[in-house]
Symmetry: C2
DNA sequence: AAGTGGTCTAGACCACTTC
DNA sequence: AAGTGGTCTAGACCACTTC
């Protein structure tokens, strides 16, 4: 654990315990340096992270203010996290029982736009996987995924039944690093109505996503469609 | 302009010009230090920002890779930006002709959940503003906004017709700093179908947003509903 | 005028990748 | 073993806020 992470933890505790109430200034950097026995830049590094997480804001010659917290998310169980967790990790973290139905597991030529997103040649093949994600008995999400076979020569249907992210983390040397997402509202197709058990006028939240390794290569194109009022949360800065 | 901003600009030019092709490593920090005549930490600061923007990824003992770019956003004009611009600034930036219809401009008691989000007392009043945003003749978005009158004693209908963000930036001493957003897919109400000129089965992208000053106080609650396939883009890290 | 955070430096130390 | 980026330090300098 790095020093700045310890500082983040300490200050978060201070906020939770009421030592630093919402709307108040945190102690000046100099005091925090003494308290945690670290240098000024380490304090800055810690506050940078807390600002990214939406917990504090900073004012130039003034200090760091504790933000008034967003009222408890009503549908926390419905939330689609903004960070890089797979569905499986996300839901089990919430204590849900998770099941995945693999509707399709094929090898195919991806659509041109997908091939382009994954920088694949014209005649290259990709796995095409369609899955329905079920948490606590309710189908929440349908997911259409393409992954180049070149990168994963030994992917099996079984891996898609558990978690593709676990497969990559545990069975390959690749490291998942980042993603680019586009989010929109869509109407379900008739087949989706059936698979997700929703009315044909229930809007779905679509998340189209390209996922990258830590060497900058895209390795996965995914289109998820979330039902039942799923929400995506995001902190905007500057 | 800070040094790290100049470095960001220089490296971005290198990517655009093809000097640093997608998939390649950037030069090691030491080389970049020499080239831009700055210290290692300033290079790190610049690369931090480029990583947040989704342009590069980094691998521990290895270096910073140029990411394969996301294929040109098809609907850039439809995009709902992830940073803190008002509708007006966002659309005029794209060269659009923008109009705003103020459907409602009232003072009212906000709903309890809104009052709570804005940390208002029970008996406090807020402006309630309903606006329809029209770009190039097409109604894109309907927006429901609450702002405590306490913070803006002199807000007028005219300010809502132009831009509330401009009003705050130019006519008050407050500084807009950050926002917390929740995004979901919704069905339009009959009135929204009429005002946005959409069919009753066209799904809308709803963005519920609380906007904060740089002292951490929330000052605005907004619910926007975007029609015509509006998209929200976001970069996910780690 | 005093207090504050942001930027920037040179350099130490470490963990990881690469060969 | 050599090269790489990440963390951390003490301290300089500046711009902004506060009084």
């Amino acid at each position: 654990m790095h020093k700045y992470e310890q500082v983040v933890r300490g200050i978060k505790q201070g906020i939770d315990s009421g030592e630093y109430p919402a709307g108040d200034l945190l102690p000046p950097a100099q005091k925090l340096c003494e308290r945690y026995d670290v240098s000024k830049i380490t304090i800055k590094r810690a506050l940078d992270q807390m600002e990214l997480e939406g917990l504090i804001t900073r004012r130039k010659g003034s200090g760091a203010y504790v933000k008034t917290p967003v009222p408890a998310q009503k549908g926390l169980d419905k939330e689609v996290s903004a960070d890089m967790l797979g569905f499986y990790a996300q839901q089990t973290e919430l204590g849900k029982t998770v099941r995945t139905d693999v509707v399709d597991f094929d090898v195919a030529s991806p659509p041109k736009s997908v091939a382009q997103s994954l920088t694949m040649e014209n005649d290259e093949f990709a796995y095409y996987i369609c899955r329905v994600r079920i948490a606590d008995g309710t189908p929440w999400t349908i997911e259409y995924t393409y992954m180049p076979i070149k990168l994963f020569p030994d992917l099996r249907r079984h891996d898609a039944e558990v978690s593709l992210f676990s497969y990559i983390n545990e069975r390959t040397d690749y490291t998942i690093a980042s993603s680019h997402r586009t989010i929109r509202a869509v109407k379900p197709t008739p087949e989706e109505c059936r698979l997700l058990d929703v009315a044909d006028d229930e809007p779905l939240l679509e998340i189209e996503q390209i996922v990258y390794f830590d060497d900058g290569r895209p390795f996965q194109y995914t289109r998820q469609r979330h039902a039942h009022g799923a929400e995506f949360v995001s902190v905007g800065l500057k």
